[in-house]
C-alpha cells in the first residue's frame, strides 16, 4: 500500500523536523543566557516550515472522515483531539509557571523553550486536523468546481509558507495583498455550510457545543502563542506567521460561521436552491410524461434531470426500445462527460454492478473496491439505477462523482422517485399505444361486421306460395355462416345456406366469396339447349362451387352448404347437401317431423373432379302446410352450462310442437328455446335459422 508507507515517511520527516526545531530553539534560549553557540536562523525556519508542511500533507492523505451524514461524530472526533491538545497546552503552561515560581528545580529558559516547541507542535497538529475536517464539511454536496477551489486554497497556503522561507523580507504590500486575498478566500469558503441543513434539532445543539469547544481550544492556543512571541525569555522564531495566521483564521472563521448558521437555524441558500431544482426537475419530468411524448424524449428528460439534480460529474444511460417499438433497434446510450469509448471501458469494468438484481446499487468508494483500477478515471462514487417494471427492463443509468461518499440518502431517494415516475410513464405510454392499436382493430372489425351485414339479404322473397323467416347471429363481430335467396324466372326460388369452417375474419371472407359464387353460378346460361339446363341443378351448382373454391380456400378449411331450388309452380324442389346439417321437415299429410338423411361431402375437401361422385341432387314434392327448417350447426351444437348439446332430437320435438304456426312464429319459438337452453351463455358458434312454410297456391280460396 503506497499511501500508508508515504504517510509513515511523512510522520518520520515531521518528527525529525520537530527534533531539529526543538534543538534550535534550545540553542537560542541557551544563546540568550550564554551568548554563544547560536544555530542559524534559517535552520529554525526550515525546521518549522518542514514540520508544518509534513503534518499538513499527512493530514491531507488521511481517508475522508465524513461518511454519509455523520457530522456529529466527525465534530466530536475533532473536539476530543482539540481537548487532548489543550490538555498538553495546559500541562506545558503549568510546568512553565511552576518553574518560574521556582517550585520545580528546572532552568527557566530551557523549560519555556521546550514547552513553546511542544505547544507549537500541538497547535500545528490541531490546525491540520481541524482544517481537513472543515474540508469534508465544505466539500459536502459541493461539485467539481468547489473541489478545484479547495485545491487552489491549499496551494496558496503552501505558497504563503514557502514565500517566507525563501524570500527573507517579503515586501509589505505583497504580504498584505496575499494575506487579505487568502483571508477573503477563506471567508468565501466558510460560506459553504450546506451540511448544517441536514442536522436534526438535537444534532444542531451538539454541533454548536462541539464547535464552541473546538473554537475555545484554538483561541487558547492562539493566546498562548501570541504571548510567547513577546516573551523576553524566549527568542522564538517569528516565523511562518503568515501561514499559521491564515490557517488559524480560516479554522476559526469556519467554526464561527458554522456556529452562527447552526445557531440561527439558517439553511443556506444553496440547499434551498438544490431542493428547488429537484422539485423543478420532477415537475418537468411529470409534464413531459403527461404530454404523452415518445420514449426517447422521456429517457432524455430523466437523464438530464438526474445528472443535474445530483450534480453528477459523468454519466451514461443505456436505454432499450419500448417492447411495442416495431423497429426494435438498439438505441445509442445517452452520455454526459463521457465518450462512447469511455462507456465501453467502464461498462466492462462495472459488469458486476450492471447485472445486479437490485434496482439501485451504490458504490461510494471505488478506490477501495478497485472496480475502476487502472482505467485512469478520477471517479470515486458510482450509482447504478435500473429502470424496471414487472414485465420489462427499460434501461440502466450509471452516474459518477469524483468525490468519495458522493451519493447519499437524499440522492438515492430523489433518483428513485425519478426512475419510478419514468417507468410509470413509459408503461402508460405503452398502454396508450396498445389501446390505440386495439381501438383500430376494433374499428376495422366493426367495419367488417357492417360489410358482412350488407351481404345478408334484407328483402326476403315474398309470395303467396310460401312464408320465409330468418334469424342469424354471429358469435364474434364477423361470422362464418351465410345464406342467400335468388328469385329465378318461372316462379323458381334458389336458397343457399352454408357455414365456413373456423371463425372470425378469415371465415367471413369466404362467406363473401360464397355469395359471389352463388350469384355468378345462378346467371342464366344463354347457350342452354332447353329451359331445364338454363340454371345449374343443385348437383352441378355444388360441383362448380367446389371447383371455384379449390384455388382460394386454405387446405385445412372447408365449407358446408345446402342448396335448394324451389319450383313452386310445380310444387316441388330439388336440393343438394354438401356436408351441411340435415334439413328438418314437417310432412303435413303424414303429420310427421323428420330429417332428410341424405349423403353429400363438404366443399373444399376433395379438390378435383372426383368430387362430383360425392354429391347428389334429391327431389321432393311438397304439400301446402309442409315446413322446412334449415339451420347451421351453431343451433344443434349450442351448449348449456354443463356442456350438453342442444341436439337434433330437441329441434325435432320443437317443430313437432309448433309446425302449425306461421314461419315467423316457428322461428321465434325455436330461437327462444335454444336461448333458454344455453342459459344466456356467450355464443359458442354462429347461429343461422331459416324457416320456410309452404302454402296452398291460392291461400284465400
Amino acid at each position: 500500500m503506497p499511501t500508508i508507507s508515504r504517510s509513515a515517511w511523512l510522520l518520520v520527516a515531521a518528527a525529525a523536523c520537530w527534533v531539529v526545531l526543538l534543538l534550535g530553539t534550545l540553542s537560542q534560549s541557551h544563546a540568550l543566557a550564554n551568548q554563544a553557540d547560536v544555530w542559524p536562523r534559517w535552520v529554525l525556519l526550515l525546521a518549522q516550515a518542514g514540520f508544518a508542511a509534513f503534518v499538513f500533507m499527512y493530514a491531507r492523505l488521511q481517508p475522508e472522515g465524513l461518511r454519509g451524514h455523520n457530522f456529529v461524530p466527525l465534530l466530536r472526533q475533532v473536539f476530543w483531539r482539540s481537548l487532548l491538545a489543550t490538555g498538553g497546552l495546559v500541562a506545558a503552561m503549568l510546568v512553565e509557571r511552576l518553574t518560574a515560581a521556582h517550585t520545580l528545580p528546572l532552568p527557566g529558559n530551557v523549560t519555556s523553550a521546550v514547552s513553546y516547541t511542544v505547544v507549537l507542535a500541538l497547535f500545528i497538529l490541531l490546525l491540520s486536523q481541524t482544517l481537513y475536517t472543515w474540508r469534508s464539511l465544505v466539500g459536502f454536496r459541493g461539485g467539481r468546481k468547489l473541489r478545484r477551489e479547495w485545491v487552489v486554497f491549499e496551494l496558496t497556503l503552501g505558497i504563503a509558507l514557502l514565500l517566507q522561507l525563501f524570500i527573507w523580507n517579503v515586501p509589505y504590500t505583497l504580504r498584505v495583498v496575499l494575506i487579505t486575498g487568502l483571508a477573503l478566500f477563506g471567508v468565501y469558503l466558510s460560506g459553504h455550510q450546506r451540511w448544517v441543513a441536514y442536522l436534526s434539532q438535537g444534532q444542531k445543539v451538539q454541533a454548536i457545543l462541539l464547535q464552541i469547544g473546538v473554537l475555545t481550544c484554538l483561541l487558547l492556543f492562539l493566546r498562548y502563542l501570541t504571548q510567547a512571541q513577546t516573551d523576553p525569555a524566549l527568542l522564538a522564531p517569528a516565523s511562518q506567521q503568515a501561514f499559521l495566521v491564515l490557517t488559524s483564521f480560516f479554522a476559526v472563521f469556519y467554526a464561527i460561521a458554522g456556529l452562527l448558521v447552526s445557531f440561527f437555524n439558517l439553511p443556506t441558500a444553496d440547499v434551498f436552491e438544490q431542493r428547488r431544482n429537484e422539485i423543478l426537475s420532477l415537475q418537468q419530468l411529470t409534464q413531459i410524461i403527461q404530454r404523452g411524448q415518445t420514449a426517447p424524449e422521456i429517457y432524455q428528460a430523466l437523464f438530464d434531470s438526474a445528472v443535474k439534480t445530483v450534480q453528477a460529474d459523468a454519466a451514461w444511460f443505456d436505454t432499450r426500445p419500448q417492447p411495442t417499438d416495431p423497429t426494435g433497434s438498439q438505441m445509442m446510450p445517452l452520455l454526459h462527460h463521457l465518450t462512447p469509448a469511455d462507456v465501453d471501458k467502464l461498462r466492462a469494468n462495472l459488469a458486476g454492478l450492471l447485472i445486479d438484481e437490485r434496482l439501485e446499487v451504490i458504490d461510494n468508494d471505488l478506490g477501495r473496491s478497485q472496480r475502476l483500477a487502472g482505467l485512469g478515471y478520477h471517479f470515486c462514487s458510482v450509482v447504478v439505477l435500473t429502470l424496471r417494471s414487472p414485465s420489462y427492463d427499460y434501461g440502466v443509468m450509471v452516474l459518477f462523482k469524483e468525490e468519495l461518499e458522493g451519493f447519499d440518502r437524499e440522492d438515492s431517494s430523489i433518483l428513485n422517485t425519478f426512475t419510478s415516475q419514468t417507468v410509470l410513464s413509459l408503461e402508460n405510454l405503452q398502454l396508450a399505444h396498445e389501446a390505440r392499436v386495439n381501438q383500430r382493430t376494433q374499428d376495422e372489425l366493426r367495419i367488417a361486421a357492417l360489410v358482412q351485414e350488407r351481404l345478408i339479404p334484407k328483402k326476403l322473397p315474398t309470395d303467396d306460395w310460401f312464408e320465409i323467416s330468418t334469424y342469424a347471429q354471429a358469435a364474434k363481430e364477423v361470422g362464418g355462416d351465410f345464406y342467400d335467396f335468388l328469385h329465378l324466372p318461372g316462379q323458381k326460388l334458389a336458397v343457399l345456406i352454408g357455414d365456413v369452417s373456423g371463425k372470425g375474419v378469415t371465415a367471413a371472407f369466404h362467406t363473401a366469396q360464397m355469395k359471389g359464387i352463388f350469384h355468378a353460378l345462378m346467371q342464366a346460361n344463354p347457350l342452354a339447349k332447353n329451359e331445364r339446363n338454363r340454371y345449374p341443378d343443385p348437383h352441378r351448382f355444388m360441383v362448380q362451387a367446389n371447383e371455384a373454391l379449390t384455388h382460394c380456400l386454405e387446405r385445412s378449411s372447408f365449407i358446408t352448404a345446402a342448396f335448394y331450388l324451389i319450383d313452386y309452380q310445380a310444387g316441388g324442389f330439388s336440393f343438394a347437401r354438401a356436408g351441411h346439417c340435415h334439413t328438418l321437415y314437417y310432412h303435413s299429410i303424414k303429420e310427421e317431423v323428420s330429417y332428410f338423411r341424405t349423403e353429400g361431402l363438404g366443399l373444399g375437401i376433395i379438390r378435383d373432379a372426383s368430387y362430383e361422385k360425392y354429391v347428389k341432387t334429391q327431389f321432393w314434392d311438397y304439400n301446402p302446410g309442409d315446413v322446412m327448417v334449415i339451420y347451421t350447426d351453431g343451433i344443434v351444437e349450442a351448449r348449456d352450462g354443463e356442456g350438453n348439446e342442444y341436439g337434433e332430437e330437441r329441434l325435432r320435438e320443437m317443430l313437432s310442437a309448433c309446425f302449425y304456426q306461421s314461419a315467423e312464429e316457428i322461428n321465434t319459438h325455436i330461437r327462444q328455446d335454444v336461448q333458454q337452453f344455453s342459459q344466456g351463455l356467450p355464443l359458442h358458434d354462429d347461429q343461422t335459422l331459416l324457416v320456410i312454410k309452404f302454402k296452398s297456391a291460392q291461400p284465400q280460396a
Binding site: F558, H582, E599, G600, I605
Partner: protein, 109 residues
C-alpha cells in the same frame, strides 16, 4: 387433448384423448406433419377417448388426406364414439375415409 404415438412395424397408431378443437388441432397437426409418417403403410387413429371434434379438428385430417393418399399411406379411424361419428357423417367424410368399429378390423383394412 393428448396425442400418443405408438409405432409398430408398418403401422403407426395415434391415440387421441380428449376434445379435438382449434387449440388442440395444432398438436395433432404437428404429429401428422412429421416426415417419417409417410414411411408407414398405415396410420390408425384410435378414437375411443375422443369425446368431441370441431371443424378445426376435421380440417387437420382433411388437410393431410391428400398427402397420405399420394404416398399410399392408409388412414383408418376406429373405436369412434357415435357423437363423433355423426360429425364425420354429416360432413360426408364417412364416404371418403376408412372408419371401422374395432381395432381388429382396422388392422385388416
Amino acid at each position: 387433448m393428448k396425442v400418443t404415438a405408438q409405432p409398430a412395424a408398418d403401422t403407426l397408431t395415434l391415440v387421441l384423448d380428449g376434445e379435438l378443437d382449434a387449440s388442440s388441432a395444432v398438436v395433432l397437426d404437428t404429429e401428422l406433419n412429421k416426415p417419417d409418417l409417410l414411411t408407414y403403410r398405415k396410420v390408425l387413429i384410435d378414437c375411443q377417448k375422443l369425446s368431441y371434434i370441431s371443424s378445426a379438428g376435421l380440417g387437420v385430417f382433411i388437410s393431410h388426406l391428400q398427402r397420405l393418399q399420394d404416398s399410399d399411406v392408409k388412414l383408418v379411424f376406429y373405436n369412434m364414439q357415435e357423437k363423433v361419428f355423426n360429425v364425420f357423417e354429416i360432413l360426408g367424410l364417412d364416404s371418403l375415409m376408412n372408419i371401422v368399429p374395432t381395432v381388429e378390423e382396422a388392422q385388416t383394412v
